[in-house]
Assembly symmetry: C2
Homo-oligomer: 357 residues x 2
C-alpha cells in the first residue's frame, strides 16, 4: 500500500517539471483511514511546497491523525516559504512516509529529525528508481558537489557529426529536434565549443515551451572576438557566459551590450567548467559538442550520461567523428545498457555511465 | 486465400536456410478442394526442388487438377535436377500461383511460359515483402549482376572500432557474437582489409553451425607476405582469397600450402572486388572492416545494407572511427529507417540503403 501511495506522490511531483528550478520536483499525498484525502505538488519556484499544497486540500480535521506520503524529505529551513516540517507537525499529521532524504546540505535529515522530535512517526523508504529519477540532477549536484553532465549529439550511423569540418550538417528530423528541445528544458546550463559556435551559430534555447529560467548558455573559446555577431550574444533570450582563455578588448563591449553576456577568463578544462557551474548553482550541464569538447569531458571522466540521436546516413571519408581529440589516447568509459527510442526513423540512444544510477 | 497459402509456402522455404547455396530458398504448397494436400521446400543444393518435394507428398490422383503455390517461378532448365516446370505440367497440376518470377537468366519467365504452353493456368503475384526477403541476395545478384554488399562492424557509442589503431578491441558481448555468426552463415563471401587481418587475426568462420559451403574469405592487402602465419591461411576451414596489389615470392608458397589459399594480383577497388565476386558466383559480400575499407565501399556507392553492433562504451581520444578514410571527402549515403534489436545490452542497428528494398 505504501508503494501505491508513493507512486501517486511521484505522479504529482512530475507535474512540476522544469518550472520548479532550482528547487527539486516534489509530490505529496495525504491518506486517512485508507482513503486519499488530498494530493499536491511543488508547481514552481517560490510557490507552495508539495506538503503545503497537499495540506491545503484537506480540512484541519481531516489532516489531524492522517498519514502524509512525500517523495522528498520535508524541508527544515526558512527559504522562500516557511519550513514544511513545521507545518506538517503543526497540522497534527500522525505519520510521514518519505521517499528520499533531501541531499541538500541545509536539509539532509534535519526535516526528518524535526518531525520525530515533534512526535510524528517518520518512515524513510529505500528510495525507489522512480523517486530518484524525479531529481536526478538535483541529487547528483548535492551528493557530488558538481553538476550532472550529459553529452548530447546528433551523429550518423558511422558516428560522424559533420560531413565537412566547419560546415553545419543538419542531420536530425523534426521528431528528434522536438525531443532535443524537451531535453534542453530539463538542464540548467548548455555548453558548446568555439567551432560549434562559429559553424552552427546555435541559439541553444528552448523554443517549444516558455521557461521562467531558461538554461544558461556557455561557450568555451579562445577569445571573445569569435563570438561577436553570433546569436548567443545578440538575441538576449537567455544569459550567455563566454568562457575565454584570453582577454580581449571586445570583452567589455560584449558585456555592456545589454544582452546578458558575461565574459570570464580562465583555463577552461572540463574540471574548471564543472566547478564554475557548481559555484553558480547550475545543477546540470548539457554538453552539445563539438567533437573535441565531448572527447575532453570523456577524458576528464566528467560524463554521467550519453545521449545521441543517430540518423540513417553514412558519411565515410574524412567526416568529423563524434568525441574525438587526437592529442591524447582513447579513454574508455563504460555505460549501462542503452535505451533506444525510435523517433520517426531517427534513433535516440541514451545510457548512463556505469555506477551512476 | 491465395495469400494464406503463399505464406505457408514462405514458411516452407525458410526451412532451407543457407544449405540451399547457391540455389535460392523455395517453398511450395499443394492445394485441392480448399485443402492443403502437401508441402515441400528446397532443403539443400543438389536435393529436390520445392515443387518436386511437394509433389512427392501427394498421390498422382491428388496432384491431378490441384493448385500449386510456389514462392519462386519453377525452373525450366536441366541443372542438378530435371526442370520443375516439366514435372508440374506432367503431374496434371491445373493452376500454379507464383510468388515471384526467377531473376536467374536461365529461368526469367521461361518456367512460367512453359507451364502456360502446356495448358497450366499460371498466376504471377506481385511479390510480397516476405517472398522477396527469402532470396534478397540472390535477387540482387541476378538483377544487378553483382553481389549484395553489407557493411558490418562493432562500434562504441561514439562510433569507434578500436581504442588503439593496430590493437584489437573486443567490444561485443556473447549475444552479439552469436548474432554475428548467424549473419555470416547467410553470406557467400566475407571481406576484411589488411589491418584487420594483422590486428585481429580473424577466422571469419561460422562456428555455430556446420555449413556444406562456408563463406569464402577475402582479404585485400598489399602483398601476401602480411598474411603469412595468420589463421585465414593456415586453418583450412574455408577457401581464402588474398586480393593483393603486388606479387610476392610468398604467393606460390601460400597457394601450395594445402589450405585452400588463392592469391590474385590486381587493383582491388571496391568495384573490382564486386566484379570478382560476381565472376565467382558469390551472391553476397559481408565487409567486416576495417575503417578505411568501409569508407571505400561507401565512397564507391557499393553498399546495400548497414549493420552495426553498438556497445555501451565511449572511447574518445584518438580512437579509430568507423568508416573513415581521410584521403577523400565525405560521401553521404542515405539509408532507410534503422531496425534496432537489443542483444543483452548491445544494440544491433540494421538499415538498407534508400531505394534498395
Amino acid at each position: 500500500m505504501d508503494n501505491g501511495y508513493m507512486q501517486l506522490a511521484v505522479q504529482q511531483a512530475l507535474r512540476g517539471g522544469p518550472a520548479t528550478y532550482q528547487n527539486p520536483q516534489v509530490g505529496a499525498v495525504l491518506v486517512k483511514d485508507g482513503r486519499v484525502i488530498s494530493q499536491g505538488y511543488h508547481a514552481h519556484f517560490g510557490g507552495d511546497h508539495a506538503e503545503v499544497a497537499c495540506l491545503k486540500g484537506a480540512t484541519p480535521e481531516q489532516a489531524r491523525g492522517a498519514t502524509l506520503y512525500v517523495t522528498l524529505e520535508p524541508c527544515s529551513h526558512y527559504g522562500k516559504t516557511p519550513p514544511c516540517s513545521h507545518r506538517v507537525a503543526e497540522a497534527g499529521i500522525k505519520k510521514v512516509v518519505i521517499g528520499q532524504l533531501d541531499p541538500h546540505p541545509v536539509v539532509a535529515g534535519r526535516g526528518r529529525d524535526y518531525l520525530r522530535q515533534h512526535g510524528v512517526d517518520v518512515q524513510v523508504l529505500e528510495p525507489s528508481a522512480a523517486v530518484l529519477a524525479l531529481n536526478r540532477h538535483y541529487n547528483w549536484f548535492y551528493q557530488h558537489e558538481r553538476p550532472w553532465i550529459t553529452l548530447k549529439m546528433a551523429q550518423t550511423l558511422d558516428g560522424k557529426l559533420n560531413a565537412v569540418t566547419g560546415e553545419r550538417s543538419r542531420l536530425t528530423n523534426a521528431a528528434a529536434n522536438a525531443d532535443s528541445q524537451r531535453l534542453r528544458a530539463t538542464f540548467h546550463a548548455i555548453l558548446v565549443g568555439e567551432r560549434t559556435l562559429t559553424t552552427d551559430d546555435p541559439q541553444l534555447t528552448v523554443r517549444t515551451q516558455a521557461l521562467a529560467h531558461p538554461p544558461v548558455r556557455l561557450v568555451v573559446l579562445n577569445r571573445s572576438d569569435a563570438a561577436v555577431g553570433h546569436r548567443l550574444v545578440t538575441d538576449g533570450l537567455a544569459p550567455t557566459w563566454l568562457l575565454c582563455r584570453q582577454a580581449s578588448p571586445r570583452d567589455t563591449q560584449l558585456e555592456q551590450s545589454g544582452s546578458d553576456v558575461h565574459v570570464v577568463i580562465g583555463d577552461w578544462t572540463p574540471q574548471a567548467i564543472s566547478t564554475f557551474c557548481h559555484q553558480h548553482g547550475w545543477q546540470s550541464l548539457l554538453v552539445e559538442g563539438g567533437s573535441q569538447l565531448h572527447a575532453q569531458f570523456v577524458q576528464a571522466g566528467l560524463v554521467e550520461e550519453w545521449l545521441s540521436y543517430v540518423v540513417p546516413t553514412v558519411f565515410g571519408g574524412q567526416a568529423l567523428p563524434a568525441a574525438r581529440d587526437t592529442t591524447y589516447a582513447a579513454t574508455p568509459m563504460t555505460f549501462t545498457a542503452p535505451q533506444v527510442t525510435n523517433l520517426a526513423g531517427n534513433l535516440r540512444i541514451q545510457a548512463y555511465r556505469q555506477g551512476v544510477v
